[in-house]
């Protein structure tokens, strides 16, 4: 072990059990609310949701993962409700709203009998007119990118993204307290996340990836594991956004203090352990009408707090990221979106000179372009969407294509393709090259 970070970590095992503590936290919220409500004042909440069957077959075989011919086979039942607190009480006067959304999933890929995922369980209220509070499990999103996130460090599920689940599942919930303040000059969002949630990334069981310990694209043979920060006050995460409109344009400043949600640093090479290094992000964005479309600019300075000088080969360096995007409506329900993202590692010379001869290493620059084309047909009941990532510097890319048909208000059929590719096995998309899939989803909404 070359480096011992100055924080305490709890070992988080790959495929480990979900935190029981976290489930308790959100469940407690529900009980508090139920206890606080006067008996008899409750109308039955309305329940909505969907049932869905998903299948994603691999284009080609992947002998490294659990199944060689497919990477998605599951049934899903989602139930959700949004309940405004009735009656003559303080929660009603504060416009209290309880939101719940949960998925019951039978994931046949792992032959589980079924699991329950609570995606949202929160209570929102406004104790004073300029303040909204949301407490509990919630989805958090901000920033201006389209599938590109600079100042949105909230957790994401990239396995769902690659295997063809609905876009909804790219975002993972956070157990958080969100305070939204609306004074005259600017709007302020402050988020406190007491318990760190990492990104869900390819880990070899379902989706193969590049494992630097194995020296190549790896599946179930990986021994790699990532160590999560322990649940304690000094590991709380904070996110801040200050934003306002200027005429038709919007500007925002962002600040984030927490951990990189993707484990990009080595804790213990001998034991093949990675960790989520401490990270501060300072950012800004601008979005508004431009040349008949919408343009956006966003930037972020990533400060790697455990390797600020950049000379530790095991810990991710600080970086700058820039993003420019443009979307235009070409008429006839045809839309085009273009983005360019540039990332630069800072103190790169210090990092490079610290590297050992056998090390895999990060590049200094990364250029990434994206193109989105969306076209609606048949009175907007058919949507054809193409989203393409292409990195000239990494010489890799990822094509996502889908066609969704709203058969009726209840039934929806979606088919699509996920085509990651790359010249090298080590790059973000290149490492995913064995996971090309074609998927189908059938959903009944109620």
């Amino acid at each position: 072990m070359k480096y011992l970070p100055s924080v305490h970590y709890a070992i988080h095992r790959r495929n480990g059990q979900k935190s029981k503590v976290r489930a308790g936290f959100t469940a407690a919220l529900l009980f508090i609310l139920l206890a606080a409500a006067p008996a008899g004042a409750w109308d039955a909440p309305q329940w909505h949701g969907f049932i869905e069957q998903d299948y994603g077959g691999l284009l080609g075989r992947d002998s490294l993962t659990k199944h060689q011919s497919y990477n998605l086979l599951e049934q899903r039942l989602q139930l959700k409700t949004r309940y405004a607190i009735p009656g003559d009480n303080v929660l009603n006067r504060w416009n209290g709203v309880l939101t719940y959304k949960g998925d019951f999933v039978v994931d046949e890929y792992f032959e589980t009998t079924g699991s329950y995922e609570v995606r949202e369980l929160n209570f929102a209220f406004s104790p004073v007119s300029i303040l909204d509070i949301k407490l509990g499990r919630q989805i958090l999103t901000w920033g201006t990118g389209d599938y590109l996130f600079i100042n949105d460090l909230f957790p994401k599920d990239y396995i769902s993204f690659y295997i063809g689940r609905d876009d909804e599942y790219l975002k993972k919930p956070s157990d958080a307290l969100r305070l939204s303040l609306y004074p005259k000059v600017a709007n302020i969002d402050f988020v406190l996340i007491p318990h760190f949630t990492p990104n869900t990334l390819p880990d070899g069981d379902r989706v193969s990836f590049f494992d630097s310990f194995q020296g190549g694209i790896t599946g179930r043979d990986t021994q790699r594991n990532a160590v999560k920060p322990a649940w304690q006050a000094e590991n709380f995460e904070y996110a801040l956004r200050i934003y306002r409109t200027f005429g038709s344009s919007e500007g925002a400043f962002y600040y984030y203090r927490g951990f990189n949600p993707s484990p990009r640093s080595y804790l213990d090479e001998a034991n093949q352990q990675l960790f989520y290094e401490r990270l501060d992000v300072y950012g800004a964005s601008l979005r508004g009408p431009f040349l008949g479309g919408i343009a956006n600019l966003e930037t972020g300075y990533y400060r790697s707090r455990q390797d600020a000088s950049g000379d530790n080969r095991l810990i991710e360096n600080s970086a700058f990221k820039w993003l420019a995007g443009y979307e235009k409506d070409l008429g006839n329900d045809l839309k085009l979106g273009l983005q360019y993202q540039y990332e630069q590692k800072l103190n790169y010379d210090d990092y490079a000179s610290a590297l050992l001869p056998q090390d895999y290493f990060w590049d200094k620059h990364r250029h990434l372009l994206t193109q989105r084309v969306t076209k609606l047909f048949k009175n907007q009941t058919v949507m054809l969407g193409i989203f393409n990532f292409w990195s000239p510097s990494d010489r890799d890319g990822y094509l996502r294509a889908s066609c969704a048909y709203d058969i009726s208000d209840q039934w929806k059929l979606t088919v699509g393709l996920n085509i990651p590719w790359g010249e090298d096995d080590t790059t973000d998309f290149g490492m995913m090259k064995k996971n090309k899939n074609a998927f189908i989803r059938v959903r009944y909404s109620f």
Partner: protein, 261 residues
């Protein structure tokens, strides 16, 4: 007393004279204000039923809040979807501008995502119905040249020819306007070959707080043989909506006073 009666007489005469002397542009401006700018603000629930050529139906249910910034000019809209169930909770905000593109934001609650929508094409379908965005929020009147054509006793009939023919799919459209209350009751759109292909008609008009209001309307697409019938309910004018309603805050946290079911 006599003085007062003379005043009244002059007032009535002047009013009548004005009605006789209205130019076509004044008629169009009055009709536009009647259709889109009544009251300082307003709210309504809209229930839309889309029927396709095979008779299959789809439903949309939404809450619409509206605030006039300037009569005949800029407006702000907040739209919240109740149905269909797969988009329930989705909402969007439009800041309508005259002479430049509207600003539109769409909120997808499942991802807590506020998207800025590039929306220069106002002649695209509104939420998959046979109504177009322009039918819902109004078409800027100076985009067309207006001519009064042979009308009927109780109606003005105005022919509207686009200033920029290449920007729209029609060659012209006619609008029948009720002389009593200046409400448009029927619009007929003709394609580039001169064939009637699209009809919007008022099916029911009611007096709401003194404002004559279309409470049921139908948009028929004669080419696809699909139509949409929209019924408005719980219509209220002058409810004191504030500018702050029409901001990102309402997307994430819809104003429950107006959106509850």
């Amino acid at each position: 007393m006599i003085k007062r009666m003379i005043f009244l007489l002059i007032f009535i005469l002047a009013g009548n004279l004005e009605a006789f002397a209205l130019t076509v542009d004044e008629v169009v401006a009055k009709a536009n204000n009647r259709s889109y700018y009544q009251g300082q603000d307003g709210s309504a629930k809209a229930s839309m039923v889309i029927t396709d050529a095979q008779g299959r139906t789809r439903q949309r249910q939404l809450t619409i809040l509206k605030l006039n910034i300037k009569e005949g000019g800029d407006q702000k809209y907040f739209v919240y979807f109740h149905k269909p169930n797969d988009v329930k909770g989705m909402s969007y905000i439009v800041w309508k501008h005259i002479g430049k593109d509207d600003d539109r934001w769409l909120y997808l609650p499942a991802m807590d995502l506020v998207r800025r929508i590039a929306a220069s094409d106002k002649r695209s379908s509104f939420a998959g119905t046979t109504f177009l965005y322009e039918d819902i929020s109004g078409r800027a009147i100076d985009l067309d040249k207006h001519d009064l054509i042979a009308g009927e006793q109780d109606f003005y009939v105005v022919k509207n020819t686009p200033q920029d023919a290449a920007a729209v799919e029609f060659s012209y459209y006619t609008v029948k306007i009720d002389k009593n209350n200046f409400l448009p009751v029927k619009a007929e759109y003709y394609d580039k070959s001169g064939k009637l292909y699209r009809i919007i008609e008022a099916l029911e008009v009611r007096d709401i707080q003194g404002y004559p209001t279309v409470t049921k309307m139908k948009a028929s697409d004669l080419n696809s043989k699909a139509n949409t019938v929209t019924e408005f309910s719980e219509i209220k004018y002058d409810i004191g909506l504030k500018d702050e309603i029409f901001t990102e805050r309402s997307l994430r946290n819809p104003p429950s006073q107006w959106t509850k079911e």
